[in-house]
């Protein structure tokens, strides 16, 4: 096994159950935002196809499959 030296990172809170819950919440919000840009067809945004059409070029150029 490799030699593991203890790392003392600056500015990182110790991982705890409460922190994991907060992290999970943050990940869900980020996934929703990414979904809105990449895949939503009006279901999440409730804007009809307006946001979908508005971000059409971005979706193509970010490499997401689109129509």
């Amino acid at each position: 096994m490799s030699d593991v030296k203890p790392v003392q990172p600056t500015g990182v809170p110790a991982v705890s159950g409460q922190l994991l819950g907060t992290a999970l919440g943050a990940v869900l919000i980020m996934l929703l935002l990414a979904y809105l840009v990449a895949f939503d067809q009006g279901g999440l945004s409730q804007s009809g196809m307006y946001l979908h059409e508005l971000m059409h070029d971005g979706r193509h150029l970010l490499g997401v499959p689109c129509h």
């Binding site: 490799s2 030296k5 990182v12 943050a26 935002l33 307006y50 070029d57 150029l61 689109c66």
Partner: protein, 252 residues
């Protein structure tokens, strides 16, 4: 609050979101500058191929004009950048102690590089991005699930490479083990996932190539700037970074 004090998760998250905002705006500027001509050219091909409107039919106003879509491009990359910045900050917080480096910025670069390999390069090579006028609307569901599957498998490949590298001690054996694990996962993923090729025979090859290279450029700008900006934002002020790099574990 000084950045050297132990900040909580929210502070880290805000730095990730800020880095994502910067990265998304710059990726949007890149996409606008180099990508829009290809999108316009592809849309012209799409419209030329569309059946002619029936005589007397009223032409339907598009929901968003082309000018609107060009502004929406920057909105899309910015929102996407912010989302990825939040993800990077969360991954950094959860994995920082497991990354065997004394340098915070190097840890941030490493995570952004892993993301670039796992969720950009690996998906790009299996399912290269397509401009408008390419793609069958009936298969969008299957294409979307395949795309998501290759994103996840790309991250699994990076993870497998790290795990495999850590079973070895000699540096060349670490690199070899990591490369083999990465390539095995990628090869299995590519074989299992369905092939998709919906490019019409008549679509200009040069336009397709330029569009795809530009698309890879957009994602590369986004993740490079995100990694650099987040790395800068987590570097404690007043810490000589050379010292941090010098104390880096050889096992990193």
């Amino acid at each position: 609050m000084p950045l050297t004090a132990a900040p909580n998760f929210i502070s880290l998250l805000l730095r990730g979101l800020l880095a994502g905002l910067i990265a998304g705006l710059l990726a949007g500027a890149f996409a606008y500058t180099f990508g829009e001509t290809h999108i316009d050219a592809a849309i012209a091909i799409e419209e030329a191929a569309a059946p002619p409107a029936e005589p007397g039919a009223v032409e339907e106003e598009p929901l968003v004009s082309r000018e609107g879509q060009k502004a929406g491009l920057v909105l899309a990359t910015t929102l996407y950048g912010i989302a990825m910045g939040g993800m990077l900050a969360t991954a950094y917080m959860l994995l920082r102690r497991r990354l065997r480096t004394g340098s915070d910025s190097r840890a941030a670069f490493g995570l952004a590089g892993a993301a670039l390999a796992g969720i950009v390069v690996i998906p790009f090579l299996k399912y290269p991005p397509n401009p408008p006028a390419v793609g069958d609307p009936d298969t969008i569901g299957q294409r979307t699930w395949s795309y998501l599957a290759v994103l996840v498998l790309g991250l699994v490949a990076v993870w497998a490479a790290v795990i495999a590298a850590r079973t070895q001690t000699a540096e060349w054996r670490r690199a070899a083990a990591g490369a083999v694990a990465f390539l095995v996962v990628v090869a299995v993923a590519y074989l299992l996932l369905p092939d998709i090729n919906e490019v019409p025979d008549t679509f200009p090859a040069s336009l397709l190539w330029e569009f795809r290279v530009t698309s890879l450029g957009v994602q590369t700008v986004l993740w490079s700037v995100l990694g650099l900006a987040f790395g800068a934002l987590v570097t404690p002020r007043g810490t000589p970074t050379r010292t941090a790099a010098a104390t880096e574990s050889a096992a990193a």
